[in-house]
Subunit: 277 residues, 2 copies
């Protein structure tokens, strides 16, 4: 859930940058279209010049006139007055991929962190892809083992940047076989919904609801419905037993109600009927 | 569900053949231990000599004195009197991996097919790994796209060898990112439970129940609880929306009741308490 007036665009990595750029265009549209003032924050990556240049090029191609990049290689950077001013005036901020721990370690508790929250609450659009998606929640996945059954000890978690509560986000979801690690994460914290976002797919969060856009799907894992788990009895690296997990798969245009932990049924049915007629 | 007196050992591929060989040893134990008479059927593979020799070696190492292989390269082979006689006398038959369509195409409706069903109903243990696992059910996955969101058209299905009803089986499950294709399969046939069996993991089916053995887990997908799916409205290759799928994860020693479509809770709780004390 988010109490901010600004929407969140949470992207599962590998968003299209060559073709129609559907997700990046939607971010720009929400941020004001050709009048958007975009700041690309490259803190997550160790290749800030290359990654920054790539996003400058694509946002320029999409038609954004005012776009700049901001790198943070140490915590002093993160308090730079010029960056603070750019973010104060931005209508949209975009976090690139890389390592989500670089984001929390280098930005957490800085002046920029404070300004990002304030501006987002006032309506600034905040987007992030891959590591930039994972860091959005209160508790985030730091790293984990792919392509395995759910096990204790295969997923490391830590505090995120706290732009959205009630969820744990995983990205590159179907493409990297990550359902085991996301199940392991929500087995530990069944009050958090697991959001598995595929590549070139995003959720656009508006208050308590989100809508899916892009070419893949979002898998929502609700461990609140668990009727049994062996979590409490397990030792390190034990195999998890999970009975009665609820799972939803939402492709593009479908909406989910985070507060009621349920897909939005009525609107979807209307949409399906419209499509058929 | 299975009405046969013989148990089924359904293996998710890549079972250990070098180390403790837990799954293959359990198959041999069920088939009579050192008195077992094992037939390895290599029909699924196009490398029957290599694969056959490998299993002869491992079953010999485990201590089986009477083990032979049987290849089927055409339907005439499948009616060979010598093979029929060996299977009539076998206490256990093992299907190797390869291509599950080779099994149904070359064995379906032959004399061997009939004898296998008769002997299994009388108590003969039947095991299969990978392709040999997929073919066990009434409807089987022929092939499908891995590491994708659930979509129409990504999974091809066809008739299996009908040793177990009510399920659709997928193998190499976590290791090859196959939840999307198994969800696509059960979205089409929600009365079938999806069984996703990890590598070096097996289910031992005894009537209406199965128990999990091995190092991974079995993911059971129950689409019977679906409250909405867009399946009927989709065109070819459309992205599936699925609301309210039920999912269970069962590692080694856990049991599942196929008739009630539920994990066996009481026994598992007892087991957990025993482990702690």
């Amino acid at each position: 859930m988010s109490n901010s007036r600004g929407k969140l665009v949470v992207i599962g990595g590998a968003e299209d940058k060559q073709g129609e750029c559907l997700i990046l265009r939607e971010f720009v549209r929400l941020a004001g279209g050709s009048n958007a003032r975009i700041v690309v924050i490259t803190v997550a990556t160790e290749l800030p010049l290359e990654v920054g240049a790539q996003y400058l090029e694509v946002f320029d191609r999409i038609g954004v006139e005012d776009v700049r990049t901001f790198d943070v290689s140490n915590r002093e950077n993160a308090n730079a007055a010029s960056a603070a001013k750019a973010i104060e005036q931005a209508t949209g901020v975009f976090f690139t991929g890389g390592d989500q721990v670089r984001i929390t370690n280098l930005l957490g508790g800085t002046k920029i962190d404070m300004i990002l929250h304030k501006r987002h609450e006032e309506g600034m659009i905040l987007a992030g892809t891959s590591a930039g998606a994972s860091m959005m929640s209160n508790t985030m996945i730091i790293e984990g083992v792919p392509e395995t059954n759910p096990r204790l000890g295969i997923v490391e978690m830590g505090p995120g940047m706290e732009f959205i509560s009630g969820v744990v986000i995983d990205q590159h979801f179907a493409q990297r076989g990550r359902i085991g690690r996301l199940l392991s994460a929500v087995a530990q914290y069944p009050h958090h919904l697991g959001l598995g976002i595929d590549e070139n797919t995003a959720v656009v969060v508006d208050g308590n609801e989100f809508e899916v856009i892009g070419s893949g799907a979002v898998t929502i894992i609700d461990a609140g419905s668990l009727i049994y788990s062996n979590f409490a009895e397990l030792h390190k690296n034990g195999d998890l037993a999970l009975f009665g997990v609820k799972l939803h798969v939402l492709p593009s245009d479908y909406r989910f109600d985070l507060q009621n932990r349920a897909p939005v049924l009525q609107q979807n049915l209307n949409k399906a009927e419209k499509t058929r007629s």
